[in-house]
Symmetry: C2
Subunit: 110 residues, 2 copies
């Protein structure tokens, strides 16, 4: 019983832009509205999460994650519209990759 | 400038069957007729190369690599016909994966 496995990610000229882990991080930030909570939910240090977000934001023309300071209702961290677009594109790619692996498995002559 | 990158490999129920590194190793064995030379050409220890070959052979019904002892002309290590089939199938998959990445890059909406 064989299985085709793989990993896929998107790079810019400055290295990894988004892969599975970064997309999950974006989704957790969207869910919790907090980098601290998002990182904790993934068993990841705040520092590591922050560095990944910083790396994504620096590689894009507009931020994918935006943090606003205090004020009424307190500050908050949110995923921007552009961030949503990136998440959506990645899952589309991920889904097609899954289909690719399944279809290629059928055409293996082993 | 974005780029889609990835890795792909074939697994059996006992773990990795073949990926890029193992295929290159098979090709080097074919070239040199020797595990020692193949390993050396890849900057890999003999032990590591041997373990990878052993792992592939154990996962398959027939050996992919066969070693014969001395005799006239000395012994030798060779890639079997089945091994050749595995190499060929992997490169076919690898090529299609390359095409997949290129075509998916064009359909990213980023």
């Amino acid at each position: 019983m064989l299985r085709i496995r793989g990993r896929i990610w998107i790079e810019s000229e400055n290295g990894t832009f988004v892969g599975y882990g970064r997309i999950i991080l974006l989704e957790r930030i969207k869910k919790f509205g907090s980098i601290t909570e998002a990182a904790k939910s993934m068993g990841m240090s705040y520092r590591h999460a922050w560095e990944m977000i910083d790396s994504m934001n620096r590689q894009w023309s507009v931020p994918l994650v935006q943090t606003s300071a205090g004020g009424i209702g307190g500050g908050g961290t949110r995923v921007t519209e552009e961030g949503e677009k990136v998440i959506e594109n990645f899952w589309e790619l991920y889904k097609k990759f899954k289909e690719f692996k399944e279809s290629e498995l059928k055409s293996l002559k082993l």
